[in-house]
Structures are given as C-alpha cells and as structure tokens.
Symmetry: C2
DNA sequence: TACTGTGTCGATACACTGTATCGAACGATA
DNA sequence: TATCGTTCGATACAGTGTATCGACACAGTA
C-alpha cells in the first residue's frame, strides 16, 4: 500500500499492447462458443472477455448489460435457422420446415432452449423468422384475415417453445443420469417407483409402464402435426 | 486480529437461542414470498434464510442444493392448481379447466413461468396434475390407446409452457416500458419502427399495424382451443 | 455428578458473479 | 508540442452458492 520505493519495484507503465479489435459479433461468437462447450451458466462476462484476451470491462463498450449479450446470442441462433424461400409450397410444409429448423438449433445450442420465451424476441433474425412464418400463412387461401394468421402463428410458437424446452430438459436429465446411473438409481428412482406404486397416480403409472416410447424426433413431429391440424381453419361450409 | 484483551471485549459465548424450528415447508414458503415480492432473481439462500432468522447454511440441512429449493417451489405452485374431480364431464372441459388453472398460477407467481420446462417436473403435486390430465383423456372414448393419450397430453403441456412463458414475458416487458415510457420510446421504439418500415418484414409490419389485439385471456383461450382441436383424434370412418 | 461421544448449527472462507468508478494512457487535433 | 477527448481496464463493491470446521447442546454412560 506504500508507494513503491525504487524504480525497479515499480511495474513498467504497461504500454498497452495494440488491443485486438473487438466487435459485437466477435463477442457474441465467443459467448456462444463458451455456452456450447460448457453451458449457459458458464457464460460470464469475465470468461467471455478472457476468451478475447480482454478485461471484463472492455465488453461494456459494446454491451450495456449482460442481458444484452444473451439477447444477441438468441438472435444469432435464430439466424442459423434456414428460411424456406417463398415458393408456392403448402403452408404446412413451410411451417414444418421452420419448426424442424428451430429444433435443430435448439439441439445444437441447448442454451437456446434455456433462453426461449424468456423475453420477447425482437432481433432482426428473430423478426426474419417470424416474417417467414407469418408470410407462409398469409399466402395461404385458407386463412382469411390477418388475425387468423397471427393467432395461428402465436399458437405454433408457443408449442415450439414448450416442446423444445421440455425436450432439452429431458435430454439433459437422461444424459446426467446416464453418466452416473448409480446416483440416479439411489436417488430419483426409489422416489419415483414409490410414488408410482403408491396408487395415487394410476394413469401415470399405467402410462410409464405401458406406453411405447417414441424417439424424440417422432415425438416432436407428432406434436407438430397435432398443432398444424389444430390451427387449420375450419372449412367455411 | 489479536485476541481480545479483556472480558468485556469478548462477545458473550453466544448461547444459541432456541432455534425457531424449520421445515422444508416453511423454507419453501419463505422463498415463494420472496419470489412473489421481488422476483426469482431475488431468491438467494442468504435472503431466504434471513427471512427465517437463520444463517444461510442452516438451510442445507433441509436442501442439498439451491436447485432443490427451486424444484420444491415449482411443486408447491403445481399444488395450487385446482384439480377437477373425476366426473363424467367432457375431456375438453377438464383440460380447459386445468389449462386455465395452471395459467392462473403462472400469473399469480410469475417466477413459476420462469421455471416451467427447466427440468422434468416430478414432484408429487406435478404428478397429481399430470394424473388429472392423463385421466381425463383415458376416460374419453375417442382416445383408443394410451399412446394416443400420452401424446396428446405431451403436446398440450408443451403449448401451455410456451404460452405461459411468452405471456409472462410480454406482460413484464409492457410493465417495465409502462413504468418509464421515456426510455422505451428512446430505446426500443426507434429500432422497431425502423425495422418494420425497412420493408424487410412486410408481413410482420402489416400484422403489427392491422391485427386487432386480443386481450391476453382470449389470446390464451384461442390457442388452447386450437390445441384441443388439434389433439382430437380423427374420426375412425 | 462428571465425562464423553454425537450431532447440529452457523461463522468464516473461497471462488466467483455483474458492474460502477476513475486514473491513466493513447490517438487525433490545434 | 500541448491539449483534448476517448477508450481501456485495474480496482473495488456488494452480492452469490456452498465447503469446511470449530464450538456448542444434549444424550448416554461411568
């Protein structure tokens, strides 16, 4: 705490090395790399900055808050969804493609599912995705008014958010219990089997024991088809 | 750092006061009170413990991790959903009641929406809710196999999770921009109007300007009805 | 009554978080 | 060359979840 005595004790007045140039883009990509590798909770301002050989506060020239970073990550992820060009193809086909597109992103970047539905998605890429969804229905004859269109898309997106979140949650649970099946068997399984054999949840028990398990892919597709059927407007006559 | 000199300096050997009895129940309720009042991010082990006149580490006798606490909160919230008794009423009616029930909980405890879909919900109350959902369809004639039943319920839950999360997210956004409309007008609005008038998102722009806004209640109901229509099995003939 | 486990409590500590502050160093301008 | 405005990042602050472990209260024993 005393001031350094002799010159040799004093640190050389850190000539700042030409700082590697930064950009919102590079920051977001570093954050995404981190999130992919170690999960969303590993994304801290310090670690992202370190990845870029910068001090933590440097980032605050490009972002005003950590939430900004998360918003940018989300929008970047939306950008990875391939948007079908506006051909005259059936709207169902287009929406199915979009749905599978967003699912692929969520499986590739599980943190994306964590952020889905956390805040309104208003970034340019999210808007482009929304545009593609709305336009597909807007072109379709079955949908008379724009209100019908917007309600259908709202419903579809709600389903997608929920489906992707639960799928990722289940996948994580399976993965972690697969990693050490011992602790799973000791902890969760006894509780669950006790609960299920308690007689309090007969239908659940029946379902757990007798339902045929779908693969995640077909499960998602089944739900998506349910949904597309549901948002189809009733025939006028 | 030196040892205290005289007796009056030394703190009286803290006769531990009869510790107010704790329980998982009371801890969870304290956490819920906090989350209701100040949001989920205000729920910290320290604050919850303080609410109960206890040291932070005391809680770890009842929980093994903070995630446990969140899981317990979620299950307690599920417990607030009124479960319709198993009358012979139409399954649509039952599912609608359950849907509105879970929505009421999410609106009463917005943190519940934050936690929806984060992890598989396996607590007793969540199982009871699931049981009620499955049972409603199991009783219905239209659903032939348990597979059909489980897929329908999966889809419904996915929709509910997504719908409630987005509704809460929108409500929060509106609330915060309503609180200081100035910062909203200065920040988000310019970007959005620019984006919408850029011509890149024609359908979105049309939708924003011309769609008639539903109240949140009817919007939720509309989606729910879409969904119930979608999961209805096709007539056999 | 004295002593010795036994188990619980919580103070302290550790490593980490997001971000406000502000002196110092730089490049550009006068 | 002197000055200015900008940008950087070291330091600091208030908080986080939780591991550790000494100190205490009580139960059972001698």
């Amino acid at each position: 705490m005393d001031e350094p005595a002799v010159i040799w004790d004093r640190p050389e007045p850190t000539r700042r090395p030409a700082p590697s140039p930064l950009s919102r883009e590079s920051i977001v990509q570093a954050a995404i790399r981190l999130a992919d590798a170690e999960g969303l909770e590993a994304v801290s301002v310090r670690k992202v900055a370190a990845e870029l050989d910068a001090g933590p506060m440097r980032l605050y020239g490009y972002l005003s808050t950590k939430d900004d970073l998360l918003d940018l990550m989300v929008d970047a992820a939306y950008g990875e969804i391939p948007l079908p060009e506006a051909t005259g193809q059936d709207w169902r086909t287009t929406l199915r493609e979009l749905g599978h597109g967003i699912r692929q992103v969520a499986l590739r970047h599980e943190w994306f599912a964590d952020l889905l539905g956390r805040r309104p998605h208003l970034g340019p890429q999210a808007l482009a995705y929304l545009e593609a969804s709305l336009a597909a229905l807007d072109r379709a004859d079955e949908f008379a008014t724009i209100d019908e269109v917007s309600r259908a898309i709202r419903t579809l997106h709600a389903y997608l958010i929920g489906a992707l979140r639960t799928e990722v949650a289940e996948r994580r649970a399976e993965r972690s219990t697969g990693l050490d099946k011992d602790s799973w068997r000791r902890k969760a399984a006894p509780y669950l089997t006790r609960a299920l054999s308690s007689g309090n949840y007969p239908t659940v028990a029946n379902f757990v024991h007798n339902a045929t398990r779908q693969t995640p892919d077909t499960a998602f597709d089944t739900g998506l088809n349910h949904l597309l059927a549901g948002i189809t407007p009733p025939k006028p006559n």
